[in-house]
Amino acid sequence: MKDQLTELARRAEADYCEIRVEDSRQTSVAFQGKDLENVQESHMFGGNVRACVNGCWGFVTFNDLSTLDSRVQEAVRNARAAAAANAEKTVLAAVDPVEDVVKLDVKSDPRKVSLEDKISLFGGYNERMLGHSGVTSTNLRYFDTYTHLHFANSEGTWLDREALDMGMGASAVARNNGTTARGTASEGGRANFESFRGMEKRFDEAAEAAVDAAKSEVVEGGTYTVICDPHLAGVFVHEAFGHLSEGDNVAEDPRMQEVLKLGRRFGEKYLNIWDTGLDTGLRGYLPYDDEGVPTQKTWLIREGELVGRLHSRETAGRMKEKPTGNARAINYRFPPIPRMRNTCIGNGPHGSFEDLIKDVKLGIYAIESSGGQTNGELFTFTAGQAFMIRDGKLAERVRDVTLSGNVFDTLRNITGIGGDFNVQDGAGGCGKGGQMPLPVSHGSPHIRIKDVVIGGR
C-alpha cells in the first residue's frame, strides 16, 4: 500500500496531490422503547484523490482500489480543467513531510467486548429509563468504529494510522396532557469502553428530567441572564465562536479579515478559548489531521483578545499564518476543510456555580443541549433542561428553552466564568458543508451571560 500510494501521489502532474484510503468497521446497537431496534455490523472501504493546480482542486472518490491509477489521473484532469479558468498560484502553507505509523492506544477496546455484553449493558440502561413512571418511550444508540487510514501526499508524507471512536446517546420521552418532553444522557470517547459502565444514575436523571419537564411550563420568552452548565457552555463556544474561527471563513474575505483581525478584543480579560487535538481519549483527539499535519493546541482567545484561528494548509497559506492541523473530513467521500477538534473555554475567576448564581435576580439555568446552529454572526441552540433562577436561587423547571443571539455581543456579555471546567463527550457530532457528524469535543466551566434572547411563549 505504502509504495503504491506514495508513488502515485509523487508522480501526479499537479502542484500537489494526496491519496487517502480508509477501511472502517462499525458495530452499533439501537433501542427504541422496549425493542432492540437494530444490531448492525458495517464495513466501509474507499478512498479519495485530491489534486491541486493553480489553486484549484480536483477531487475524486472511489470504492475500488484497483482503479486508483485512473482516479489519480481524473483528479489531476479536473484540477487542470478548473485551473484553466484561474490565474492564481497554489498556496499551501509549508509543513515538514512526516512518515509515521500510529497504532491504537486504548485502555479498553470495544472490539474485545462481546456483542452480548454490549446488548446487556445498554439494554439494562434502556429498561431502567422505561421503568420510571411517566416515561412513555426511549431512544438509545451506541456505536463503536475502528478505522484504518492510509495517507500519502506528493511531498513525501506517509501515514498509516488507526483510530477508534465510540459514542452513546440516549433519551427518555415523557408525555403529559399532550405535551412531550425529553431527558438525555450521553457518553463518548476514543479509548475506554469501560467509561460506558456504571452510568445508572445518569439514566435515572434523564428519565426524571423527562417526566418533570413534561409537567413544566414553556418558558416565557424574553431577555434574561443565563447561567450555562459546562456542557451547554461547550456547545456555545463551539457554535458561537469555534465556527467563526475556521480559516475558510476568513482566508479569502478581506472584510472578514478586518472584522476578525488578530488582537481584536472579544471579551473580558478572564475569557480564554482554545481548540486542541492533543487530549487523548476524547472524541476530539486527532494526532494528525486529514492533510497529514500534526495536531496541536491552538489558542483562539487569550485574556479576551483574538490570537489565532483554525487552519487547513490552504487557508493558512493564503493568510500567511501557520497551519494548525484542523483540516478534517468525516470520511473518504469528502475533502478536508477547516474544522474543530476539542474546543474549550478555560476556567475563570468567578468560583463555583453558587457564586455565579447568587446575584442573579431573574434568570435561567440552562443545562445540556439538544443541538445548535450558527451562521457566523448569529446562533441558536436549545437547552436539554432548564430552571428559572429567582433571587439568586434555583426555582421552577421550565421547558423548550431556546437561546438565540449575536456572537459578538454575547461574548462581550459573559459576566462570569467559574472554575469547574469539564468535558462531556456524547454520540453526536459537528456538521458543516454537508459533512456530518464529525467527532468533536467541547468543554467549559459554568459561565454567566447577560441579555440572552430566550424563545418561549
Binding site: 477531487f59 446488548i119 472584510r255 451562521n375 448569529l378
Partner: protein
C-alpha cells in the same frame, strides 16, 4: 457512466447470490445501490473545485430464528461478508413480526434525464461563471459561492418474498450564496434548487438574480421590538413550521405513542385551508420514486386533508405494529435501516396572490430563513429559532432586514387559528412544494 448504472440490473452474479442467501436465511431483503456524480464549486468568487464522486454499497436484512440481522458494506463484491454478518447479527435483532415486501409492480413511471450522466466540467463551470456575473452586476461587493452538478444512480431491492424492483435516478442541483461581512452586520442570502432533470440555465440565473435583489434589501437595517407580529412566511421558513406535523405523522412516533396524533386520525386539528399531500410521482419532486426503501410501491396520499388528519407514513414494521396498512414510506440510504418519511410534501395552494399578501402584512415581517429551528421540541409543536433572514414590510415592500430577534411559535396552534392567507404561488424547497403563508399573532423575542 451509463455502463455502470446498468451493472446492477444485469448482474447475474447477484441473482445466484440471492438464491444461496435464500437457503441460509428464513427470509431476507437485499438492497444494492450505486451512483456517480459531477459537481463544480465556486468559493469566494472563484472556481475552487471540480468534484467527481463514485459510490456503491450493498446491505442485507436476514432473518434467522425469527429475528432480523442487518449488515452493510461499501464494497459491492462483499456480498458473502454482508450476508454472513447479517445472519450472525440476527439472534440479537428485532423480531421479524411482519413480512418483507412481496412481488408488486408500480404502475407509474419516474422521470429520468440521461443528460445527467453526460455532464462535463466546462458546461458546469460556464453556468457558475454566469451565476457570478449575474450577482456581481447587481451587487459587486457580495462574495459569491455557488455550485452546480448532478449525476445518476441506480438501486435494486430483492426480497425472499418475490419482490425484485430496480430503479434508475437522475438528478441535477444548484446552490447560490451571497455574503458580505460588514462590521455589525453579516448578510447572507441563498437559493438552491434540485430536479430529476437538468435545470435550464435561465432558471438558475433568475434565482440568482432574485437572491441578489433580496440581498441588497438585506444590507439595510430595520428595527424590531419584542411583540406579536403578522408574518408572511416564505416557503423556506414554512418548511420549518411544518416540521411538527411531519414528525407527528411519522409512523415511529405513532408506534411509540410519542405523537400527539396517535388517536387523532379523522380529527380536524388545523385550518380548513391546510391540505398536505405526499406525492412520490410529482415530476418536479426530487424526493419521489416508484418504490420505497423496502421495495413497496409508493402511493400519492393526503396526510392532512382540509385541516383533518388523514394519514400516517409507515415502514412495513411501523405499519404492522400500529395495525395499519403499509404506505410505502420507508426512507433509507443503502447503509442504514428504513425509517418512515415523506417523499415529496406538496401543500395545496391558496387563493391569494403574493402581492396581495404583502399588502396585508403591512407593519409585519417577511420571514425568509430561520437558524437552528431543528433543535426545537417538534413533538410538542414548538418551533423556535433566530431569524437569520427576515424583513420589515411597509406598504407591501420589504424595507430592511430585522436582526437579533427570534421567532417562537407553536405550529399546532398557529396552523389552526392564525392563518390569514395562503398564496396561489408555490416554490420547491428540496422535496417540498410549498406556498407562502400569512399568519398573525406570531411571538417575536428581541
Amino acid at each position: 457512466m451509463k455502463e455502470s448504472t446498468n451493472k446492477i440490473a444485469e448482474d447475474a452474479k447477484a441473482g445466484d447470490f440471492t438464491g444461496k442467501l435464500g437457503t441460509l436465511a428464513e427470509a431476507f431483503e437485499m438492497f444494492q445501490a450505486e451512483g456517480r456524480s459531477l459537481n463544480v464549486g465556486f468559493e469566494n468568487d472563484r472556481l475552487n473545485e471540480i468534484r467527481q464522486g463514485q459510490s456503491s454499497g450493498v446491505s442485507i436484512r436476514a432473518v434467522k430464528g425469527g429475528k432480523i440481522g442487518f449488515s452493510y458494506s461499501s464494497k459491492p463484491d462483499e456480498l458473502d461478508y454482508v450476508a454472513e454478518a447479517a445472519i450472525r447479527m440476527a439472534p440479537y435483532g428485532k423480531t421479524y413480526d411482519y413480512q418483507f415486501a412481496g412481488e408488486a409492480r408500480s404502475e407509474h413511471t419516474r422521470p429520468f434525464d440521461p443528460r445527467c450522466a453526460e455532464l462535463n466540467p466546462d458546461q458546469l463551470v460556464s453556468i457558475c461563471n454566469h451565476i457570478k456575473d449575474t450577482v456581481k452586476a447587481i451587487d459587486s461587493e457580495a462574495l459569491v459561492d455557488c455550485s452546480v452538478g448532478g449525476g445518476i444512480g441506480s438501486s435494486r431491492i430483492v426480497t425472499s418474498n418475490g419482490q425484485d424492483c430496480r430503479e434508475e435516478q437522475s438528478s441535477f442541483s444548484f446552490f447560490v450564496s451571497l455574503r458580505l461581512a460588514e462590521e455589525g452586520n453579516f448578510v447572507q442570502n441563498y437559493r438552491f434548487g434540485a430536479a430529476n432533470e437538468i435545470i435550464e440555465e435561465d432558471v438558475i440565473l433568475a434565482e440568482a438574480k432574485s437572491a441578489a435583489d433580496e440581498f441588497q434589501i438585506a444590507r439595510k437595517r430595520a428595527d424590531i421590538k419584542k411583540g406579536k407580529y403578522t408574518v408572511l412566511v416564505a416557503p423556506t421558513a414554512l418548511s420549518d413550521l411544518l416540521m411538527p406535523i411531519m414528525v407527528s405523522v411519522n409512523g415511529s412516533a405513532i408506534e411509540k405513542k410519542t405523537s400527539r396524533f396517535v388517536d387523532a386520525m379523522g380529527e380536524k386539528l388545523f385550518d380548513e385551508r391546510l391540505t398536505l399531500v405526499d406525492d412520490p410521482f410529482h415530476e418536479d419532486g426530487v424526493g419521489g420514486g416508484l418504490y420505497d426503501g423496502e421495495g413497496v410501491p409508493t402511493q400519492k396520499r393526503a396526510i392532512i386533508e382540509k385541516g383533518t388528519v388523514n394519514g400516517f407514513v409507515h415502514t412495513l414494521s411501523t405499519a404492522n405494529r400500529c395495525g395499519h396498512e403499509p404506505t410505502g414510506n420507508a426512507q433509507r440510504g443503502v447503509s442504514s435501516l428504513p425509517m418512515p418519511g415523506m417523499h415529496n410534501l406538496v401543500m395545496a395552494p391558496g387563493t391569494d396572490s403574493l402581492a396581495e399578501m404583502r399588502q396585508k402584512a403591512d407593519g409585519g415581517l417577511y420571514l425568509r430563513q430561520l437558524l437552528g429551528s431543528f433543535t426545537s421540541n417538534f413533538l410538542a409543536g414548538q418551533v423556535s429559532g433566530n431569524i437569520s433572514l427576515g424583513f420589515l414590510i411597509k406598504d407591501g415592500e420589504l424595507v430592511g432586514r430585522v436582526k437579533n430577534c427570534a421567532l417562537n411559535v407553536n405550529s399546532f396552534d398557529l396552523l389552526k387559528s392564525n392563518i390569514l392567507g395562503i398564496s396561489k404561488e408555490r416554490e420547491w424547497i428540496g422535496g417540498r412544494y410549498l406556498p407562502w403563508l400569512l399568519v398573525d399573532g406570531v411571538q417575536i423575542s428581541a
